[in-house]
Structure formats: C-alpha cells, structure tokens
Symmetry: C2
Subunit: 344 residues, 2 copies
DNA sequence: AAACGCTCCGAAAACGGTTTCGGCGAAGTT
DNA sequence: AACTTCGCCGAAACCGTTTTCGGAGCGTTT
C-alpha cells in the first residue's frame, strides 16, 4: 500500500528524513536543530549537524517555499539582453539581492510581446516574489497590468501606466549638466549633434541641452539639434557639415559616445585641437569607446547600476507592503576627461 | 483540528482545489482535465478549463517539481556579468532553453570563489537540473568537482579537470584563419600585435598566427608577437614602433578589435592607406568597434552565441544521461570587411 | 439475469520540508 | 509523596500538485 507514486529513474539526494534517521531523531527535531531553533538539546543539535554535514544534506528549497508561500526568487524580464543597458541594471539588481538570499530568474523577451507574455506566465507559475522589467530604451512601454499578484518595478524603460513604479535615468538633467559643465569651463558657442530622433533619449537630452543654453543666455549654434543615428559614421558626417557652416563653434555636445567618437576623428583629421579649440562631449560613458580615445571623452554616466540597485530596493519595499508608484528619475553624472579639459 | 499551520499574511492565489470546487469535480479530475489526459469527459474538461480561465488559475510549478523531482530550471553561474563574453553565451543558452520550458537562474560570482560556492549551494538547494559555468577568459578555471548531483558544462573558460565538459572557442584556429585570409589576398609581410600575454587567448591566437605563417613559408615580421594590453593606446604605440622599424609590412594582425582600432588610427594619421598599403585585422568582432570604423574592420568572430547554444545542448544531453567530457573547441569565423578588402 | 467491458471520476498517497502542540521525564516545590 | 514546572522531543497537519487504482454507472453479450 505504500509507495504508490514513485519517480522511476531520477536520483534524489539525501533528505531531512535521512538525516533524522541517522541521527536517531525525528524529522521535526532535525529541522529544528538545523534551523537553529531553541527547543533542542545542544548535544542533539550537534549530532544532527554532524550527520547533515557528513552526508552533505542540502535542504530542498522548493518544499520550504511551497509551505511558506514565498520563494526568495525574483524575475528579471529584459527586452534586450545584448544591449548595453540591461546589463549594468541586472548587475546592480543582482548585487542588491545577492547580499541577502534572493535568486534571480532571468528571461529575455527580445522585444516580442508574445514571448514576454509566455515568460510572464512561467515566472508566475514559479511563484517569483516580484518582478523587474527592464527595457532597451527610455521610451515608455506597455504596462504588464495592475492585476498581477506580485509587485513589479520597471527599470530604464518606464511603464506607460503611471500607477506602476518606474525608474529611469534623467536624460533631460543629463543634457543640462553637460552644457553647464561646458559653460562653466568657458565655452559659449555650442552645437548639438544627437542620434535617432525616434528615441525619447535623444529628444530628452536635446531638451536638457536647450534648456541649459537658454538659462545661460547662449544660442544653440546651428539653431537646432542635428538628429541622425547612433553611429560614428553620423558623427563624422555631421561634424564635417557643422564645421563647414559654423567654423567658429567652441564645443560640440554629442548624443552618444559613438557619435562623439566620430566627431573626434573628423576634428583630428581637420587639424582642429580638442579640447583647445573645440570641446567634445559624449553620452553613456561606454568605457570601451570613451576611456581610451584621443583625447578621452568627457561624457555623461547614467548610473545604471545604481538604477538597478534602486529597482531592487523598490521591489523589496513593495514586497514588504510599501509600494511606490510613478516615474522616478535618477540623476546622471558628468565624467570629465580630456576632451573638455586640457589638463587631463 | 484543521489548519494547524497557516501562513499569516501572504495572499495566495487560486489553487487547483478552488478550480475543482467551482467546477464541481475532484482535484484529481481537475488536474487531468487541465493536463490533457484522456480519462476525462470532454464536457467536464471544458467546464474545468473554463473555470481555470475565469479565475486565472496559474498552476504552482513548485508543487509539481517537488513531486516529479525535476524543476525545469538550470543555473547559470557567471564570473563577469559585465564582460562582453558572458552575454552572448547567456543569450545563446537562453535561446536554446527558451524554446522548451526551461528557465534560467542567474548568478554572478564576480570571480570570487567564496561567492561562487555560496551561489552553488543556493542553486543546488533550488534543485536546478543542470549548471552552466561561464568564465571571463579562456584560461582554465578550477573545477566545481565531480561530486555534484547534477551535470555541469563549462563555457568559454574551460575546467582544469579533463573529466568535465568544457566548450571554448578555438583561438588557435582563429589565428590561423585570419593569416590564411591575408595570405590568400596576397599579403606576405605580416606582423602581429596582441594584448596582454597573461591571457591564454593572446598566446593561443599568436600560436595560430605563427603556425599559419610557417605553413605558408612566410616570416613573422619583427620576429615575434608584440604583447601589450587590450587597449587602443597599446595599438597606437605598438603601430608607431612597428612602422618605424618595419615600414615595409603589408599586413597587421591585431589581437583584439580594440588594438586594431588603435592601429587604424595611427595608420590614418601617418598617411598609410588601409587596406591598399597595409591590411589590418582585429579579433572578437565587437561590432561597436569593428563595424563602424574607417575602414570597417576585418575581424574574427568567436561565435559565442553558438557556443552558448551548444553548451545548453550538451547540458540537455547530460541531463538525459548522455554526458560528454573534455574540452571541445569551437570554430571561429573570419568576418571580412574593408580593412583587408578595398572592395568593401 | 448474470457476467463482462467500458468510460469517467474520486480517494489517497506521495514529494520534502516547517510548525504546532501534546507528552514525557526529571527536577524543584510543598 | 503528590504536584507543578520546565526542557526536550515527536506525531501530525500542511503547502499544491500528479498519479494510481478502485469503483460507480451503464450498455452489451450469453
């Protein structure tokens, strides 16, 4: 009559029952001994611990989760694993979680809503305690809905629904900060070459640039932001055109480090000294591009790891019954290098 | 007498019991209905399905896992989440898994053995069905040991223990391939500037370069591989030195795309035409560096996503009772761009 | 009318832990 | 000597699901 159900092949490791049997106690006592509860004689406890160690007993987290209703796992739903934005966020989150005893279940939806829905169900089925959704651009994305049984935090790409909690870098402030830096170091004839205007990030940064210039009473040389694509090639051609029409600029704000690299190359080619004649700035602080160029690029760091950590903290708070809502904008940081400061 | 144990606060979602009650059947029947088993009347089945849909029932995977002894989860233990090598591998693995119903539990040990051990225990406790360990360089790393209850596959960084299954890119062949390409396109005076010689990758690639040159009966100009660091700065200074001493080279094989970018910049500065006078090659096919340079870089792609996919497949095979062992070297692929072919 | 086969359903065991609560000695109290 | 107190331990419920196996109901055959 016993053993009606039996997984046929699978080798299972030692269980608490085995520990209990070998230590000559009940499973209840074994459990209490291993979990440091008080109602166990020290000697008995040691015996249990020794046995557990000896047979290398590893408690089955699943069983515990099933009972207590929490898994100690969070889902990380990303939309571009290859992108350079998800990664630091993921690291920051892993960091914040790792110190405790949370694990991260990673899913990549690749921008496909169907796949996203599929992964969502999988995560829900695995009873994750919370969810971080990270997008590939700062453009708002559809909400996962308000009906989910677990808290959700959106990182980098905010949710379109203001009832959700979203964390995004403050691109507008970033644009302002970089212009403030240039103005503070004596530049006054500033132009702005950015990337693809379809990206909210490009428009937001341009807005910041415009605001800061207006605040300083300075003109935007060229009269507009020159949008193009997030490539070195665009940076090169835009810089050529700009220099032809406005040879008197003394600073060039670029929408990304890639664009700035293109600009740097053309300026060098045309014999323009950076930063003496023209200062150049990037955006993103993508180190492989910005740290080792000639001269190294002054750029804006969006602090994505901090954003990831904060996302984890917001999630913790929500799981703890203290949810937040709305879009939270995190400050950027200007990283000053040689392209704006001859001393570096 | 009922409800002795009760999780106090946690809101639990609808369970199979709820579905069964609302559909007027037993849990056994409800389970069978939802899982498409045959011994259920079509009408009953539909009723159950409708109820499940209506109350948005999500089966608790944990309970199932506990019973059948498999979780449908694999652990991904990485050592540099920020590095550019882990990511494609992770994507490839996620890809291979995602099609089925596997989930990925991600841990970043950051090169710290303690943290690695800690994460390993967490993964074991969560009863992952298998483990992929991905390192940050192709240097061998210590084995996790043979005593683990689940199969392990090492990716990118091989295990030092030959009994383990390891998957690495074939750097030696990559070095050979790039030289073969140069020789085939008419180059004969070839020099090699690489990165940090402490990396196995640098030494292996150099070995391939040397072998291929010897095979073609050609000398390595300069008489040696010039090791330095994986930076543009090193690429620049090495190229200057090389041109001063050997102005007659017609090809420069670089150990990475970063080094190649530095070389490209110096060649342009010194008025040397690439590829007409000197061909330049990189390694890694890091697109942000190689695809948009002037000219675009011919480079070697290590096929890391394929490596990740294969790691997943090897893991599946092992979980299925067909383990592999030893170090498997995966082929690289030369990506031809303008820096070696004037037509591009 | 009895025997049989078939379809559909439900009781119950099982997975591996945690927690509650009652029991049992031994020591202390009166 | 009887009663209380206290420390330590174990039986059993419980989490949510799957699977087995017996049984009920019903139609068909001899």
């Amino acid at each position: 009559m016993t053993e009606v159900v039996r997984a046929p092949d699978r080798h299972r490791g030692p269980t608490l029952k085995d520990v209990a049997r070998l230590a000559g106690v009940s499973v209840a006592t074994a459990s209490k001994a291993l979990n440091g509860r008080s109602e166990v004689h020290p000697e008995t406890r040691q015996r249990v611990i020794d046995v557990a160690e000896r047979i290398s007993f590893t408690p089955n987290t699943l069983a515990r989760s099933l009972l207590v209703g929490q898994t100690g796992t969070v889902g990380l739903l990303t939309n571009d694993l290859e992108g350079r934005f998800s990664l630091p966020i993921l690291m920051g989150a892993e960091d914040a979680f790792g110190t405790g005893k949370m694990s991260v279940l990673l899913c990549d939806a690749r921008g496909d809503a169907i796949r996203e829905q599929y992964h969502l169900r999988a995560l829900l089925g695995r009873r994750v305690d919370g969810l971080i959704v990270v997008g590939s651009s700062t453009d708002p994305r559809p909400s996962l809905g308000q009906e989910l049984p677990i808290p959700v935090v959106y990182a980098y790409a905010p949710s379109a629904d203001p009832r959700d909690a979203s964390l995004v870098p403050d691109n507008v402030a970033g644009g302002r900060q970089i212009v403030d830096h240039l103005v503070a170091t004596g530049r006054s004839r500033i132009a702005h070459v950015s990337g693809d205007s379809a990206y909210a990030a490009a428009r937001e940064r341009a807005q910041g640039v415009t605001e800061a210039l207006a605040g300083a009473g300075l003109p935007l040389i060229g009269g507009q932001t020159f949008y193009g694509s997030w490539t070195e090639a665009w940076g090169r051609s835009a810089t050529h055109a700009l220099l032809d029409q406005h040879p008197d600029i003394d600073a060039l704000v670029c929408g990304s480090d890639q664009v700035a690299r293109g600009a740097l190359e053309v300026l060098r080619e045309r014999g323009v000294k950076v930063p003496q004649q023209i200062a150049v700035t990037g955006f993103d602080n993508w180190e492989v591009l910005s740290a080792d160029s000639r001269p190294p690029l002054t750029t804006v760091d969006m602090g994505l790891e901090a954003l990831g950590r904060l996302a984890a903290e917001r999630l913790f708070a929500a799981m703890d019954g203290r949810p937040t809502a709305g879009e939270e904008r995190l400050p950027c940081r200007v990283v000053v290098r040689g392209s704006t400061d001859a001393g570096l």
